[in-house]
């Protein structure tokens, strides 16, 4: 208990944020991608507050299994406990703050600081130090000086999230009806999913939001940005999204999922016909498990971001976190997710396919990186950064007659999710606590 993280003071909000983020009027400004003061507010009011993705359960199946990652710029250790639970600790010794774990993943009986030999067990408790006698002579209370523990940790279908904020709503409440859509990828077969291979880490000179926003609901770029890559992988162009009869943009609390119902549009770009076949093979069982509607989503043209920085693509099965590293830099952590029950050769094809498309040398990732870097770099210009950027597509596209959960909008070629995302960003930067955060959801909590 005494090792729970001390909460930080919340500073006043920046003034004139509306000048750079005015969602009602469909405009933002480049300043939000480059400004240091805004970035520091984000670390405090978004990354120290919201639920952040930290691991997949399959990465740490046994006691003492851990991965290291970051929550914002705070380094953390995610470790499986003896009782099967998961704890998340700051990766910093409570003596002089030195990093205690340098590996990305592993199995351990604990962590020993390199500096003065403070030793912590799997539960984060301080179990001893080098020259322990002098501490004992100083009336030192070992129980108070364990690794600092993150306030809340919880999972949804294998996805582990954590928040520094003890006041944050439950994960279930935070995700809301988005869980219904998440299940199309993460719970479409008995046994759920697992990550295959390791974590691919790369950096881009772009703002974290521009990447997260791309996945929250920007399929519009694909037909243009990715045309040449699609021709290389598919021998033809990207599916013409405006030709789809039925597609949606759905959001909640700033999270967003945009999708068509074409089953295999996303998986097709991996250029592995066996994967298309696999999805068609499992589709009837998905329909039985999740219903007809979501069985059409399993590899469809789609993308999703869970606010603020966790994203994935069903079909390509790439899962990623856009880790902020300053206003104009990200470290991208990316993994490949597969159904646990899938045949080994199918898992391997997914791993390879994802490498070919969504890794640092992947054909689609390179296309995106270039664009995102220049969306960020142009905002270095003092004058350019202040100019309005248009974000108004689909202003009047609410689907009012739908049985789907969430805030539902018609069509994927729509900036409704991007607007909801930036609105949530704006609301967080203006709120001193969760209680002050306005509720802008209007859709259904549950599917009918």
């Amino acid at each position: 208990m005494s090792n729970i993280i001390k909460t930080i003071d919340v500073t006043d909000s920046l003034e004139n944020l509306k000048d750079v983020c005015d969602i009602e009027n469909g405009r933002i400004a480049g300043k939000i991608f480059y400004d240091q003061a805004i970035y520091e507010q984000e670390l405090e009011k978004i990354f120290a507050r919201c639920w952040l993705f930290v691991a997949h359960e399959s990465q740490i199946p046994n006691t003492g299994d851990y991965v290291t990652t970051t929550m914002g710029e705070d380094e953390v250790i995610v470790i499986r406990q003896k009782d099967g639970g998961i704890k998340v600790f700051l990766n910093a010794c409570p003596h002089r703050g030195n990093k205690v774990c340098f590996a990305e993943s592993g199995t351990t009986r604990g962590f020993i600081c390199n500096y003065h030999g403070w030793s912590f067990n799997v539960q984060g408790n301080l179990v001893g130090q080098h020259e322990s006698g002098i501490y004992e002579a100083s009336d030192f209370d070992k129980a108070k000086w364990g690794l600092k523990e993150v306030a809340q940790v919880d999972s949804w279908k294998g996805l582990v999230f954590a928040t520094f904020d003890p006041q944050a709503p439950t994960l279930q409440e935070y995700l809301g009806p988005m869980t219904w859509y998440l299940d199309a990828l993460f719970d479409n077969q008995e046994g759920g999913t697992e990550f295959v291979g390791g974590c691919i880490r790369s950096t881009y000179d772009c703002n974290w939001k521009i990447a997260a926003e791309n996945f929250v609901g920007d399929i519009l770029h694909a037909g243009w940005t990715h045309d040449s890559a699609a021709r290389a992988m598919l021998g033809g162009s990207v599916a013409k999204v405006s030709d789809f009869e039925e597609s949606y943009s759905v959001n909640w609390n700033g999270h967003g999922y945009e999708f068509a119902l074409d089953t295999v549009g996303n998986v097709a770009v991996l250029g592995e016909s066996a994967l298309n076949k696999y999805l068609h093979t499992i589709k009837p069982s998905v329909a039985e498990r999740l219903g007809e509607f979501r069985s059409n989503m399993i590899g469809a043209v789609s993308s999703c971001t869970i606010f603020p920085n966790f994203s994935f693509l069903a079909g390509q099965n790439t899962v990623r976190v856009w880790q902020p590293r300053g206003p104009n830099k990200i470290e991208l952590f990316t993994w490949v997710v597969v159904n646990k029950s899938a045949p080994q050769e199918i898992k391997e094809k997914w791993r390879k396919g994802a490498m070919m498309t969504f890794s640092p040398t992947g054909v689609f990732e390179m296309d995106d990186g270039e664009n995102w870097e220049y969306c960020t770099k142009t905002a270095k210009g003092r004058v350019t950064a202040a100019q309005d950027l248009y974000i108004g597509l689909g202003m009047n596209s609410r689907a009012s007659d739908t049985s789907l959960p969430g805030n539902v909008f018609k069509g994927q070629l729509n900036e409704a999710n991007a607007r909801a995302y930036y609105q949530q960003w704006f609301d967080h930067l203006n709120a001193k606590s969760w209680k002050e955060l306005p509720n802008r959801n209007f859709g259904k909590q549950e599917a009918e």
Binding site: R109, I112, G117, S119, N121, V127, G128, Q129, H130, E131, S132, G133, E136
Partner: protein, 113 residues
């Protein structure tokens, strides 16, 4: 020479270690390595730690605090941070009972070091 009762054989499964509190000679760790019994001092020679809370790997005991190792049969310290050998005691088994033979004079000598 003190003959110190440790525990019953039936209380110590194979590849297990158990701490026996002893205020006179210091706590003793008793080990069952594949049916052979050994006894050493329980306190790590590096920092405050009960070796009986550590893990046995082959013939080694790993200290639970800094993961330094000692060779159980000889007490030999295996390297930084454990540089000082662990005191070992001859073991006698009588029926179901395990005893350690503790040289009292030796204990006094160690205390002066």
């Amino acid at each position: 020479m003190d003959k110190v009762y440790l525990c019953k054989i039936s209380e110590l499964a194979e590849n297990q270690v158990k701490r026996i509190d002893n205020s006179e000679h210091g706590d003793i760790a008793v080990y069952n390595l594949g049916g052979n019994f050994y006894a050493t001092a329980d306190l790590c020679t590096h920092a405050t730690a009960s070796l009986a809370e550590g893990d046995i790997e082959e013939e080694m005991i790993t200290c639970p605090v800094h993961w330094g190792q000692f060779h159980i049969p000889t007490g030999r310290a295996q390297g930084f941070p454990c540089e000082t050998d662990l005191r070992t005691y001859p073991v006698e088994v009588e029926g179901d009972a395990i005893y350690a033979l503790v040289e009292v004079a030796e204990s006094a000598l160690i205390a002066k070091c």
